[in-house]
């Protein structure tokens, strides 16, 4: 545990400040004045697509605003006010605390979230402020306390369930799949499950095979579940708040190695749209789709690529289910080449689904086969040198772009 907290100092978010201006410049060109929702092309992962506002939401009993709406382009306000510097895990806590202040029904359930403050200190101090019932320390019974969170969500509360490590949620798969995902449907829409399931996952620093799992690939098929992955302090806080406000069950994937990232974030209230991807770097030659920790490997590779004369466009997809095919599609239409860089396993990972979705929808815009760099299909070894080789490294990304752009 202590080893995991010593995250790599090189992974700073300083490069984000330069990129942000480019991001929202691009954003203002493509988004309609009324906002994203007016022109959204909703493409479902099975390839069917419908056009229009709230596409797919038929039926009087369905909740029209299942996701908290995006406020005005909040990146601009980073510069209107000084903001404050914050680490990623503190940003998560800030978001959680603000939502708990805003709505007394928001509660936290998990192991060591209360008195211990969370194994990664995301809930530090909250139990003192809100009491032991609102920040509930549970016994080690993932399946049952996740189910408890679901029962509480059905009866009016808004729980945030923490998996101490996302891998532990494998024990809660029954509840997450059957009840969390499906209950809204099998009850004929009578019950909503406004639950947030969050926790650290991904490959850390020699944590061993079982603590280095990427559960997004296992959960992605569960119908009714929404998944997001945060990668910066800014989007961590925004996604946390949006997930809590959402009426849908949302799984928020954090990464063990990103908790100590520092960034300056706005003082004022803001949220990030749960279904939106983030444009990290605008470019011309190739679209690199990534999320979570791999974003930083990609940005490191991007520096090398720029020196070599390439101009990669980097998109942090953020929304793992559903994919933001609007942003992704626009990028593909511009660059005609796609590279997916993910930390999931090769087999059945997020990259595999994303590849299929892009082929289904944007085949005619591709000038080259989609390349996907994923982790090896092996249990993550303990030895550092071996572990490094199972995960995608910047050098591989550079080589892949060079191959794509030949």
């Amino acid at each position: 545990m202590a080893a995991a907290l010593q995250t790599a100092g090189t992974l700073t978010a300083s490069s984000n400040l330069v990129i942000n201006s480019e991001r929202f410049r691009f954003g203002s060109l493509l988004r309609s004045p009324a906002g994203m929702k007016g022109t959204i092309l909703v493409v479902k992962s099975d390839g069917r697509h419908t056009v229009g506002f709230n596409a797919g939401l038929r039926g009087a009993n369905l909740i029209p605003n299942a996701v908290a709406a995006k406020t005005e382009d909040s990146a601009k306000s980073t510069y209107s006010k000084p903001g404050h510097e914050i680490l990623l895990f503190e940003a998560l806590r800030e978001g959680l605390e603000e939502e708990m202040d805003r709505d007394p029904r928001v509660c936290v359930i998990g192991e060591d979230v209360g008195h211990y403050g969370g194994s990664y200190k995301v809930t530090k101090g909250l139990a003192n402020k809100y009491g032991d019932l609102r920040v509930l320390d549970t016994p080690i019974a993932e399946n049952s306390f996740t189910g408890m969170g679901i029962g509480a969500a059905m009866t009016g509360l808004r729980p945030v369930v923490e998996g101490m490590n996302m891998g532990f949620l494998l024990l809660a798969f029954n509840q997450i799949s059957n009840n969390c995902g499906m209950l809204h449907y099998t009850s004929g829409g009578q019950f909503t499950i406004p639950i947030v399931i969050r926790g650290p996952g991904g490959v850390g620093r020699q944590l061993g095979a079982e603590h280095s799992q990427r559960l997004e690939s296992y959960f992605q098929s569960i119908p009714g579940l929404q998944m997001v992955a945060c990668s910066t302090p800014y989007n961590s806080k925004g996604l946390m708040k949006a997930a809590i406000r959402s009426e849908n069950p949302v799984v928020l994937f954090e990464h063990v190695l990103l908790y100590n990232l520092k960034e300056r974030i706005p003082d004022e209230d803001y949220i990030c749209c749960l279904e939106e991807a983030e444009m990290v770097r605008v470019g011309e030659h190739v679209t690199i789709l990534t999320y979570s920790r791999m974003r930083y490997h990609v940005m490191q590779a991007a520096k090398t690529l720029v020196n070599k004369g390439y101009d990669p466009e980097v998109v942090d997809i953020r929304s793992l289910k559903p994919f933001d095919l609007y942003t992704i599609g626009n990028s593909v239409k511009k660059t005609h080449r796609v590279l997916i860089v993910e930390e999931c396993m090769r087999t059945g990972g997020i990259g595999a689904s994303l590849r299929a979705a892009i082929i289904d929808n944007f085949w005619d815009y591709l000038d080259a086969p989609i390349m996907c760099l994923s982790s090896q299909d092996v249990p993550t070894p303990y030895a550092g040198s071996l572990e490094e080789q199972t995960v995608v490294q910047p050098a591989q990304i550079v080589a892949a772009v060079e191959q794509l752009c030949r």
Binding site: R134, G151, A153, L157, N174, Q175, T186, G188, F191
Partner: protein
């Protein structure tokens, strides 16, 4: 109870005539447990059941028409035909399901009980019942060997949640006899292992069940915590309508059965037991038992 029995019999008829499909699990024989417990609840109280949930839904007040329509997959069903036999839900009646996998409803019930305590202590909402809103979790003997059962007994007692765990021990989990599956088959004794009272009761006797239920529900409502109640009962039909039910010996149910098939035979048997007293005690205000049965047949099972 009469409604439950005639409802389930009609389900069987429809199924065997090829008009109903899938897994249908009938509650014949266990009606006393459902009635004994659920009829004591206030509107704000919640019930969580398993796949054998038709009669629990009926007892909780879900209209028989809505339940039957759900079984036929109609949009007029309580879940718009999307849930089916094993997923009966009704938000207005606080009927929280209907769960297909055994044990997965118990944590949901624990969550509802947690919610009840949270609303009372954190949100400072007063319940019309005068205390805490109670949740009842129904499940079978097979579930009592499942991890979720034990995990929830622990958590419910730890936080003194207003929940009653009701075990409908009908001795069989599909074809697995409870005695072959359980090292210590006495389930109610497992309550004290977690610090809560465990109570056995004759699940075929609605009045005895009601007595125990009253105490358990009052305990939960006043904030004293959970109770584990083991109801010894029996199912007269197979596990589901598709189950050949070969392993149970035909004479096994003689201890449980007063009379086999017709509701009026139950009535006769019950009247023999509680002559006079039963008539006045019955939950509907009708003049005769036959009238109750006739009314239940008419209201529940006409399409």
């Amino acid at each position: 109870m009469a409604l439950g029995r005639s409802f389930e019999d009609m389900c069987a008829q429809m199924y065997y005539r090829g008009k109903m499909f899938g897994f249908v699990h009938l509650y014949n024989g266990q009606e006393a447990v459902s009635t004994g417990f659920i009829r004591l609840l206030q509107p704000g109280d919640a019930v969580v059941s398993t796949y054998r949930d038709h009669v629990h839904a009926l007892s909780k007040g879900v209209p028989a028409r809505a339940v039957m329509a759900e079984l036929f997959g109609k949009t007029t069903g309580c879940c718009r035909g999307q849930g089916g036999s094993m997923h009966m839900f009704s938000a207005p009646h606080n009927f929280l399901g209907g769960f297909a996998f055994i044990g997965e409803g118990i944590p949901v019930a624990t969550g509802a009980a947690f919610s009840s305590r949270y609303r009372h202590e954190v949100l400072k909402e007063a319940s019309p019942s005068g205390g805490l809103d109670v949740t009842l979790a129904f499940f079978g003997d097979g579930t009592c060997n499942n991890g979720q059962f034990f995990e929830c007994l622990n958590m419910a007692q730890l936080w003194k949640l207003p929940i009653v765990f009701v075990v409908e021990n009908n001795l069989w989990a599909i074809g697995m006899s409870h005695l072959r599956a359980t090292s210590d088959p006495v389930i109610w004794k497992k309550g004290p292992a977690f610090g809560m009272p465990g109570v056995p009761v004759d699940g075929m006797d609605v009045l005895k069940v009601r007595e125990v239920a009253k105490e358990a529900i009052e305990r939960a409502r006043s904030g004293e915590g959970p109770t584990l109640v083991e109801c010894e009962t029996y199912r007269f039909r197979g596990h589901s309508l598709a189950d050949p039910d070969e392993l149970r010996k035909p004479g096994e149910d003689v201890d449980f059965k007063l009379c086999a098939t017709l509701p009026c035979c139950i009535a006769f048997g019950l009247m023999c037991k509680f002559f006079g007293f039963f008539i006045s005690y019955i939950m509907l205000k009708h003049s005769s038992l036959k009238g109750i049965i006739r009314k239940s047949k008419r209201s529940g099972c006409c399409r």
